[in-house]
């Protein structure tokens, strides 16, 4: 599964990262997998949220079948 990255993560790691996600997972598992691959960005990832199909997720179970798009959302800073 390709996960979209933005902001500092996109610049440092790339616009997407390929992850191997189980059939059912939580957003924290997505962040944990990226932290394992890129421990340097653990700090940013600890402040980030996960969006599935362009909606913020919390701690709910996510079914891989229902996922069209996953994105990591670092702290926003528009305005």
């Amino acid at each position: 599964m390709k996960v979209k990255l933005f902001s500092v993560l996109a610049e440092k790691i790339g616009p997407t990262i390929e992850l191997d996600l189980p059939q059912v997972f939580k957003s924290s598992e997505v962040l944990d997998q990226i932290k394992e691959k890129h421990p340097d960005y653990a700090d940013v990832l600890n402040q980030s949220l996960v969006a599935v199909n362009e909606e913020y997720t919390n701690e709910e179970d996510i079914s891989l079948d229902s996922v069209d798009e996953i994105a990591i959302i670092p702290p926003v800073s528009g305005g």
């Binding site: 500092v8 670092p74 926003v76 528009g78």
Partner: protein
């Protein structure tokens, strides 16, 4: 006729302002955020805004919908790309029957945009580059 979008060109304040003047409404409040040179001692040279555009427009629309549902008109436009000092990054306007509602909702929209809409700034300051939002 609400207008909610992310653009990568300069924001035309005149067109957006005019779109908020309606015979039904008597009060319009507009917030404009522009690129500021100094933040305390830090001198900014330019800011690069990036976005997760589809999601950002959805989140902006959700915010606007709460105001539109109260019968007001709303404009929310955020510019992305490389912005120079003085460039306008965001324009938010609310037209309402009564001015207190216009102020209240306009302020709520910019406060909320800064919390939930996936837009990020990379600030090129004189001393170093800063990524907005990070602790």
């Amino acid at each position: 006729m609400s207008l909610i979008k992310i653009v990568d060109e300069p924001i035309d304040t005149e067109v957006l302002t005019k779109s908020l003047i309606h015979n039904e409404f008597g009060g319009v409040d507009i917030f404009i955020g522009n690129i500021r040179q100094y933040t305390d001692d830090i001198e900014t040279e330019k800011i690069e805004y990036s976005t997760y555009k589809a999601m950002a427009e959805k989140e902006m629309q959700k915010l606007a919908d709460t105001v539109l549902a109260k019968g007001m008109d709303v404009v929310m436009v955020h510019r992305v790309g490389e912005l120079q000092l003085g460039d306008i990054a965001v324009f938010i306007g609310v037209a309402a029957p009564h001015r207190a509602e216009a102020f209240e909702n306009c302020q709520m929209l910019i406060d909320s945009l800064k919390k939930t809409v996936p837009i990020w700034k990379k600030e090129y300051d004189k001393d170093k580059i800063r990524w907005g939002g990070l602790e």
